[in-house]
Amino acid sequence: MEILVCVKRVPDTSENEIEINSDGNDIERDDLVYSVNEWDNYAVEEAIQIVDKVGGSVTVVTVGDDESEEVLRREMAMGANNGLLLTDDAFEGSDGKGIATILKAAVEKGNYDLIMTGAQADEGAAQVGGMLAALMDYPYASLVNLIEPGDGKLKVGREIEGGNQEMNEIELPCVLSIQTGINEPRYVGIRGIRKVASVDIPELGAGDLGMDAGAVGADAAKVKRLDYFVPDMGEGAEMLEGSTEEIIEKLIEYLKAKGGLK
């Protein structure tokens, strides 16, 4: 099975405090720790496991700048066979549909049976996979937490409310968005990264992809972020301060009053 996994380089929210810059038009990006979008690691791991079972190859693709190459290399160190960097000044400022349009051009240049994305990324929109599927006229399933390969089709489980799982059969080629917990992504050590450090990763721009650059990028975007801001949090929590002893003393008083100690 030929599998394409779409990945994204994002600020690691578990490693950073996200601050908004003084102009309010972006977050403070100096000193941010970036990593592969967490969901994407599960998608790549799943792709590798499927290929281990049924044969084929895994290609990882991203839309980004030169710095995005590092996340492709990381996923190749996990075991993805090929990397593909889609990069062009014309791609900058694309909205979700723009990104899906760029990915569609890359999909059409290959011969993929299965395309995967993470269920969501840093913007929390969970939109590119579903848009790409519709643009390709492929069937789509989101929030997938189980995949069983079959003949020309897959059995997939979707995570739905209440911890329940919705089972579907989906024809290939298709697009799936992958939920965390579907597997345990393998650890990537520094040695693994070194091994793929000099592997060639092709870079493709709008011209290479044979696409109309005017259909993507900031000018084509119909959904635009105006600014970032810190919302009015209302009252928020009463923050307990002082020495640890003082904090614990106050907390225990609260717990006693609210029925938090039996």
């Binding site: 579903g130 298709c174 965390t180 929590a237 609210k258």
Partner: protein, 321 residues
């Protein structure tokens, strides 16, 4: 102005809470425009929901087809694309169904899409201004969306209070417009979650642990605290993903809905999916080393601390009472 539609989710003949929230969201976009409920399904259950919604919405479009008996997003998408006007404003709940349907629906309607909207500020001509959250809720953003050619808007569940006002519309049967509903994804069944050894939905006190616990070996300190308090242990999604605790202990929209008196959120950032599983207005204590964690917005009492240091000290203090 284009017509405004709200997609009504329902099960067993009962509309979900989002049915009453989406009409409120619709009024924020177009205060005076009529809002039509569009409801897909099959048989008597569908009729029951349609009649219920007709009392609330200005009109109800019913799409009855055996292929729509279970809401497979691929089938629903076809039915909506075939039925709705091309420049419609379509509202969906941003839940596991809305996430499945919305992005592809917007492409097939040749309209725009915005996911997980937490606030609608209003329209200026053909431009809608809304608020979203990014970076796990750590930053909010104003976003504009061109709705002049139609749009699909996924509204976060629970951000609007249900509207109890009544409009009293008619049910219009649009089943004949649904057209070809053949798709390449077939629904098989829903596999119900397995019950665990503890039923956290009945717990009065929960000590809930999140990513801040860092390592499987550290989970023990959470059980020690719970024991001292007479509480049960629950958790957030990353702990289940890492397989450190069983799925039945997960609080959130994709896990259990809990109604304790006291909820101790330990090292939990507080994603909306997690908070969606906490009901009944408990007293929430949040301990997190990140002062910007969204959990502090909803907690009653907050402590900025590393749980790995704080929990053992708290346990010892409670044991000494």
């Amino acid at each position: 102005m284009a017509e405004v539609f709200a997609y009504i989710k329902h099960a067993d003949g009962v509309a979900e809470d989002s049915a009453l929230e989406l009409i409120v969201a619709a009024k924020k976009i177009a205060p005076d425009a009529p809002v039509t409920a569009v409801i897909t399904g099959s048989g008597a259950d569908l009729d029951k929901v349609c009649n219920e919604m007709a009392a609330i919405y200005n009109a109800v479009w019913k799409i009855d087809n055996a292929a729509l008996a279970y809401p497979n997003a691929e089938v629903v998408r076809k039915a909506l694309v075939n039925t709705l006007p091309g420049d419609s404003i379509v509202l969906l709940p941003h839940d596991t169904f809305g996430m499945d349907l919305g992005p592809g629906l917007s492409i097939k309607m040749d309209s725009t899409f915005v996911a997980d909207i937490v606030e609608i500020e209003g329209t200026d001509g053909g431009t809608l201004k809304i608020v979203r959250q990014e970076f796990s809720g750590m930053a909010s953003a104003h976003v504009t969306c061109d709705i002049s050619g139609g749009t699909v808007l996924n509204i976060r569940p629970g951000v609007y209070q249900p509207d109890e006002s009544k409009a009293g519309g008619e049910v219009v049967d649009k089943s004949g417009d649904a057209g070809d509903l053949s798709v390449k994804r077939t629904f098989i069944e829903v596999v119900e979650a397995e019950a665990g050894d503890v039923d956290i939905t009945k717990s009065e006190i929960l000590v809930s642990v999140g990513r801040g616990i860092e390592d499987e070996d550290n989970v023990e300190i959470v059980f020690d605290l719970a024991k001292a308090m007479g509480a049960d242990v629950s958790c957030s999604r990353p702990i289940v993903d890492a397989k450190w605790l069983e799925k039945s202990r997960q609080v959130g929209t994709s896990g259990q809905t809990v109604k304790p008196k006291v909820y101790m959120a330990m090292g939990i950032s507080g994603s909306f999916q997690h908070l969606g599983g906490i009901k009944g207005n408990p007293f929430i204590v949040a301990v997190n080393k990140n002062a910007k964690a969204p959990i502090f917005q909803v907690a009653d009492v907050g402590i900025e601390a590393d749980i790995l240091e704080f929990i053992p000290e708290l346990t010892e203090a409670i044991e000494g009472l």
